[in-house]
């Protein structure tokens, strides 16, 4: 059957093309060219030669999304200059009794690197780096004000492997890894301390989405739109994406604060809404504190200079999340480059 002979010969030529060491060659192999189909196959094989270089399916749209994010970023890029080296504008702080075990869990599960561990009364304050993002963990006297946990959307090179390590480290599976319709493979665990980890790997060439960082902070306020409005007024947040279902529930949204992204959805289950606390690296702690209060936050601690050269305050937003505006007061700040 001629058609069958044709597609067999074409595939033979494509096999030779794909296996060829010289990517410039896209001619019909001699064995194929000498057949009765040689002249028919020639233009097809030349097109096949071009197709060897075709871009990955979603590359064009991914790059477009990255460029669109950049077009709305100039103001926030400037704000990021206040951030300590190696940190993002918003850094999550976890306050739990067994901080040492949590640090070990992060090291083993996500390859976290412990950069500092500073003694504080009754415990320590540690800073770990996971990929391109930082996370702070504290134990000791801060527990007087209650435990603080977080939820994270973490991008790793191999979701299944990290998920397995998390379970070995004592985490509980909430959802096994599965390919998701939005282009990632992800699973969900709760660690021994009660933090939620959505462990994900993008199903394309880059395991993490470009421009967002590999650790997104997640919150589950009752009304994500109200939270976004508050974050815009309090912290100068910018909405990056927002998707609602037909009933008007926010399924997923992301806001950029400086160079960090906070992800959220309307909480459909109150147990998902964890009492989180965030370090907010700002130019001016006092101005940031006042702006948050004006937007509806409650002041828990007024701005004050700290022994390490920083100036910090604490506010609680209307959703129960706490924020620590933190500015470097001078060039001699002891903490300025501790993470570098």
């Amino acid at each position: 059957m001629p058609d069958r002979a044709l597609y067999d010969l074409l595939d033979q030529a494509i096999d030779a093309l794909l296996g060829g060491a010289d990517p410039g060659v896209s001619d019909v192999p001699a064995g194929v060219a000498n057949t009765m189909f040689g002249s028919v196959l020639d233009p097809l094989v030349r097109i096949a030669g071009v197709l060897r270089g075709m871009p990955e399916e979603h590359f064009e749209s991914r790059l477009k999304a990255d460029l669109e994010r950049r077009t709305s970023m100039p103001a926030t890029e400037t704000a990021a200059t206040a951030v300590r080296e190696g940190f993002r504008t918003v850094t999550p702080l976890i306050i739990v009794p067994d901080g040492a075990r949590l640090v070990e869990f992060l090291k083993r599960t996500f390859g976290a690197e412990e950069l500092t561990r500073t003694p504080v009364p009754g415990g320590f304050h540690a800073e770990v780096r996971i990929g391109d993002s930082m996370l702070a963990i504290q134990t000791g006297e801060a527990l007087r004000y209650g435990e603080r946990r977080g939820a994270f959307h973490i991008y790793v090179p191999d979701c299944d492997a990290a998920f397995g390590r998390a379970l070995e480290g004592g985490a509980t599976s909430v959802g096994a890894p599965a390919d998701q319709h939005y282009g990632e493979r992800s699973g969900w665990v709760k660690d021994f301390a009660g933090n939620n980890w959505y462990i994900a790997t993008r199903l394309d060439n880059h395991y993490a989405p470009p421009g967002l960082g590999n650790l997104l902070l997640c919150v589950s306020p009752r009304k994500a739109r109200v939270f976004i409005d508050f974050a815009k007024r309090a912290f100068g947040a910018e909405e990056v994406y927002l998707h609602e279902n037909p009933e008007g529930r926010v399924v997923i949204a992301g806001v950029r604060i400086g160079n960090a992204v906070v992800e959220m959805s309307d909480a459909h289950d109150e147990s998902l809404d964890l009492p989180s606390i965030f370090l907010l690296h700002v130019e001016d702690c006092d101005a940031s504190y006042q702006r948050a209060i004006a937007a509806g936050a409650t002041g828990l601690r007024e701005p004050a200079d700290q022994a390490d050269g920083s100036r910090t305050a604490v506010v609680e937003d209307p959703f129960g999340y706490r924020w620590i505006p933190d500015s470097l007061t001078g060039k001699d700040s002891l903490r300025k480059n501790t993470a570098s």
């Binding site: 074409l10 494509i14 071009v50 075709m54 990955e56 790059l63």
Partner: protein
């Protein structure tokens, strides 16, 4: 034809000026030129990951530098390809430094770039089954057997789809040039 070129050039200029005033319009320039820039880069680096990284670099630089673009009658695409040419040259310098050997970069003609860009554009318009086979074969580098298993089709059916896809592309290319 001359009038068409004037119109096209005028529209190009308006779009560039709009993007200079408001970067949000850069998306239109990106869509018009994505395949051309990618084709140019991929023809010169022969590695998909490098081609994607360099293409991203070109558009990011173009976005940040668009304010400096001055309209002198040269198409915006030529400005993009000049940025791409610099990015490719830097890439090969890096490769040369790392390998310890200078690397000769080959030239590519404008016609070859346009032809590749057209193929990349047309492939996105193929019927889904044909596109899937082409993507799995050429991007994911799967064998016919692997594709047949993944799509739950016979190997003959996959080869048939591959043939139809390439014939489709050939016909559309010929139609575009007619």
């Amino acid at each position: 034809m001359g009038q068409d070129q004037d119109l096209s050039s005028g529209a190009d200029r308006l779009l560039v000026e709009a993007a200079q005033r408001d970067p949000a319009y850069f998306a239109d320039l990106y869509e018009q030129n994505f395949h051309r820039v990618y084709a140019y880069v991929s023809r010169r680096v022969h590695n998909r990951h490098h081609a994607e990284d360099l293409t991203a670099e070109v558009f990011r630089e173009a976005l940040s530098e668009i304010g400096k673009f001055e309209w002198r009658g040269v198409p915006f695409s030529a400005w993009l390809l000049r940025i791409a040419s610099g990015a490719v040259a830097d890439h090969w310098k890096r490769v040369g430094r790392e390998s310890g050997n200078p690397v000769e970069t080959e030239k590519t003609s404008f016609d070859e770039v346009e032809r590749s860009a057209m193929v990349f554009q047309l492939v996105n318009r193929l019927p889904e089954a044909q596109f899937r086979v082409i993507h799995m074969r050429f991007v994911e580098q799967k064998s016919i057997r692997e594709i047949a298993q993944a799509l739950d089709r016979s190997e003959g059916a996959v080869k048939q789809l591959q043939l139809r896809a390439l014939e489709n592309l050939r016909d559309q290319m010929e139609g575009a040039h007619a």
